[in-house]
């Protein structure tokens, strides 16, 4: 029985008691309320890798540094925590496709039917990074991280357009799209998830983040919003500090 269910049993009845799984709840005559019933996010802390293996870390860091290069607008993807972000996502429910329908038969579909492969996101990274590593070495005469930035961009572009073919079960184009999508999530999501360090992307574009009240600003048309961003992570740190 998880904490949430345990707490709720005091306020409401359970329809039937069997094993330790959450049961149907019966609620009548009152609006249930329990303290701490919500599920706040657990902040990601950098340090160590939960999914990526050492070789994969080297590759991923080199890749995200080309997808989001350091320049006068923001630090690099790696320095913003994008690889940490993707690592934690792949180690969790996203990586194991917990929310996807994963029953067969797996048949090649039409583009309108969406992704139809039996690999989970974690499986796609594992196979995709290895295949990309090999394809780059074979085609560009050196490992990805040793290539010049120009050559690295070329390798990524060729993966993006399907020119660079990957061996095995992995569709290279689809794999690139997945890596790009996850990298951008890491760059733009709340820092609580491990990326967007110091809210770098939000400062770059002028997004105020987790603010919740713009009533005094809604009709100040065509004027830059004056306040900097805040994050959920900040809210949590503040709450802990009391």
């Amino acid at each position: 029985m998880n904490r949430r269910t345990f707490l709720t049993t005091t306020a409401v009845g359970l329809v039937a008691l069997a094993s330790g799984v959450a049961q149907a709840r019966s609620i009548s005559g009152a609006v249930p309320w329990e303290a701490f019933a919500g599920e706040p996010p657990t902040p990601v802390t950098p340090g160590g890798w939960h999914f990526f293996q050492p070789r994969e870390v080297v590759l991923m860091e080199a890749i995200v540094d080309r997808l989001i290069p350091a320049d006068d607008l923001s630090p690099s993807g790696r320095d913003c925590g994008c690889v940490v972000y993707v690592d934690r996502q792949l180690a969790g429910s996203f990586g194991e496709a917990a929310r996807l329908y994963m029953k067969g038969p797996f048949l090649p579909g039409l583009p309108t039917q969406g992704y139809q492969n039996s690999l989970t996101p974690a499986g796609r990274y594992r196979a995709g990074l290895a295949a990309f590593d090999k394809a780059v070495s074979d085609t560009f005469g050196g490992r990805f991280e040793t290539l010049s930035p120009g050559k690295q961009d070329q390798a990524l572009s060729e993966l993006e357009t399907g020119k660079l073919k990957l061996s095995g079960k992995v569709d290279g184009k689809g794999f690139f799209a997945l890596v790009l999508e996850n990298t951008m999530e890491g760059f733009f999501a709340d820092p609580v998830h491990g990326g967007n360090r110091d809210m770098a992307s939000w400062k770059m574009i002028g997004f105020p983040g987790a603010r919740y009240d713009y009533r005094d600003w809604v009709d100040q048309h065509d004027k830059p919003y004056p306040r900097g961003p805040v994050s959920i992570l900040g809210n949590i740190v503040q709450a802990k500090a009391g």
Partner: protein, 587 residues
């Protein structure tokens, strides 16, 4: 082993918008009611936390509050010559799950359909001739807009809708939608204040000859106490509306409008985490005995009841009917059968204007806070010289600046690297998008059925959707996109990018959770599953409430009409059915 529970007067399947309205109305009749909801209990004070609700990744991208495909997926194909495959992740639409249903994480555009929408087939046939409708299977609803007026009003009052009437008893009101059908009184709250984007849109639309007005919104412009005595707060334009729950008590939902009253009624019981699998029929096939459901540990229960209200969201309503053998399944080859018939959607298109010098602050936004021009919606314009029927609302309702999803860049921009970054930064503050929300008219080949191959976690067939945009709707959408372009040009931006609607329906990118039809209401039992009171023609003690009852969809969001139909059905049950239980209310 199935545990048989004590009988109830009424069992309600699903506690979203329709379930909570029906439950509250029927509880006032003193009936003993149980609602079975497959998701968890959720409430503002406990679950919609203002310290962490603004988490785009968790709620908008990982879809924390939604139904996940792992729990129940659906299959899709564009036509009967294709093999349907499962949508392994929900994309094009996102069904709700849990107490409050999709009412928790909707945007809040709250429309009334036009009177002509309810008598669509007769109206269009009379005006343009039957030939014009040859490729379509549109129908009249059996209920008229005038009959529904009071029910619309009740939903608007319940939800504290903020807007401006355009037509009160035939008198055109300044500031509202001049094409609106007559209503008896104004919205309960005035419109919201407009952020810069919609304000600019309104000016441009007026200069181009359109009649823009504030979109009726379930994001409250002021504090409000609804007729049930439930208090709500003013919207703070936070920009975390669609896909999120409101932590402010400012967006109308079952939680903010109904549940505080309903949950306290002693003759109402909610069982959450209770997934209804089937409506059980008596041997004659004409009476429902109750429903079978399972809890999250897999234990099965039979809940007997005299009256079964199916309020599980349009698509789930239809699947439950098909699984339970209610009505004859529709067959597109013969055009016969009723359950699954006339599945429709929404035909959307968009346009984006890039400026050099503007500052829109796109994050100052609400789910429905914006402007609409309805000059080309429904039959508000003359189609005589045109090659289609239907229309759409042109809506400038910038709902958020959340940057994982909202990052407009001009055409030709690379997707990554320094050039991408520069373009992203430049466009973020200075770009405005608006859209066309077009009608979706029924066609013979678009329908819902059970999938022959793919099963849910209990081994029961998934729902199969067969759908593509009918040619009529594609022509309509292009015509509307041309109109939207006129407004875009009047804005005087640097560059315009269009997103026009073409075939085929793609299940991956998000479009709209406005799935309609499949268990439609009407006056002909061979063409509709329900009579005009949303009562099954085949099983008289089953009412099926939701957008599944729409014979076709208008160029408007459905929930205003869904809420009205909930009150309409509740009145029919209270005032007619309960006097003569088990009997059909029509014919």
């Amino acid at each position: 082993m199935t545990t048989i529970l004590p009988k109830k007067d009424v069992v309600i399947i699903g506690l979203g918008w329709t379930g909570s309205i029906l439950a509250n109305e029927l509880a006032d009749e003193g009936l003993d009611i149980v609602a079975l909801e497959r998701g968890p209990w959720r409430d503002t004070a406990t679950d919609f936390n203002i310290a962490y609700m603004q988490d785009e990744l968790r709620y908008a991208i990982r879809k924390d509050l939604f139904l996940h495909a792992s729990e129940e997926a659906m299959t899709m194909r564009n036509n009967t010559s294709e093999t349907a495959l499962p949508m392994r992740d929900y994309g094009s639409f996102l069904p709700g799950r849990g107490v409050g249903g999709a009412g928790v994480h909707w945007n809040g555009h709250t429309w009334r359909f036009y009177d002509s929408d309810f008598e669509l087939k007769s109206h269009l046939t009379e005006r343009y001739g039957a030939d014009r409708l040859a490729d379509l299977t549109i129908e009249d609803w059996g209920v008229t807009g005038r009959e529904l007026e009071h029910s619309y009003d009740r939903f608007e009052q319940l939800a504290g809708i903020s807007g401006k009437a355009g037509n009160i008893d035939g008198r055109i009101e300044e500031g509202g939608n001049p094409f609106e059908s007559p209503r008896k009184r104004d919205y309960p709250l005035p419109p919201n204040r407009m952020p810069y984007g919609p304000a600019l849109f309104a000016d441009a639309a007026k200069s181009a000859g359109f009649h823009p007005f504030p979109t009726p919104a379930a994001n409250l412009s002021q504090n409000y106490v609804n007729p049930l005595g439930v208090a709500m707060g003013q919207c703070s334009y936070c920009g975390f509306c669609e896909r999120f729950a409101c932590a402010n008590y400012s967006k109308s939902s079952p939680q903010t409008c109904v549940l505080p009253v309903l949950m306290r009624k002693p003759n109402f019981e909610l069982r959450s985490n209770s997934d209804v699998r089937k409506i059980e029929l008596a041997k004659d096939g004409k009476t429902a005995r109750g429903v079978t459901y399972v809890d999250t540990s897999g234990r099965e229960f039979f809940q007997p009841a005299d009256l079964v209200l199916v309020c599980a969201y349009a698509l789930h309503n239809v699947r439950l009917m098909l699984l339970s053998g209610i009505g004859q399944p529709y067959d597109p080859a013969t055009g016969e059968g009723t359950t699954g018939r006339n599945y429709c959607y929404q035909t959307n298109a968009g346009v984006t204007v890039f400026f050099d010098d503007k500052n829109f602050n796109p994050f100052i936004a609400g789910g429905a806070i914006g402007q609409t021009a309805d000059d080309f919606n429904g039959d508000s314009f003359d189609h005589s010289a045109l090659d289609f029927v239907g229309g759409g609302g042109i809506n400038c309702i910038p709902t958020s600046g959340r940057p994982i999803q909202h990052r407009p860049v001009p055409k030709g921009t690379p997707k990554w690297g320094s050039a991408w970054k520069k373009a992203t930064k430049e466009a973020y503050q200075s770009t405005l998008s608006f859209g066309v929300q077009g009608s979706s008219y029924a066609a013979r080949g678009n329908y819902l059925s059970l999938d022959p191959t793919y099963k849910d976690r209990y081994g029961v067939p998934l729902l199969r959707m067969t759908f593509d945009f009918p040619d009529n709707d594609i022509r309509m959408s292009h015509y509307l996109s041309d109109r939207a372009l006129e407004i875009a040009k009047a804005m005087g931006g640097r560059e315009i990018a269009e997103a026009r609607r073409d075939k085929s329906w793609n299940s991956v990118p998000y479009q709209s959770t406005h799935n309609t039809g499949g268990a439609i209401m009407g006056s002909d039992p061979t063409k509709s599953a329900l009579n005009k009171y949303l009562q099954s023609w085949d099983v008289a003690n089953v009412f099926v409430i939701g957008a599944s009852a729409f014979p076709q969809n208008a160029g408007k969001n459905p929930t205003g009409t869904v809420g009205a139909l909930a009150y309409w059905a509740a009145d029919a049950i209270r005032n007619q059915y309960l006097r003569n239980p088990g009997k059909g209310l029509v014919g």
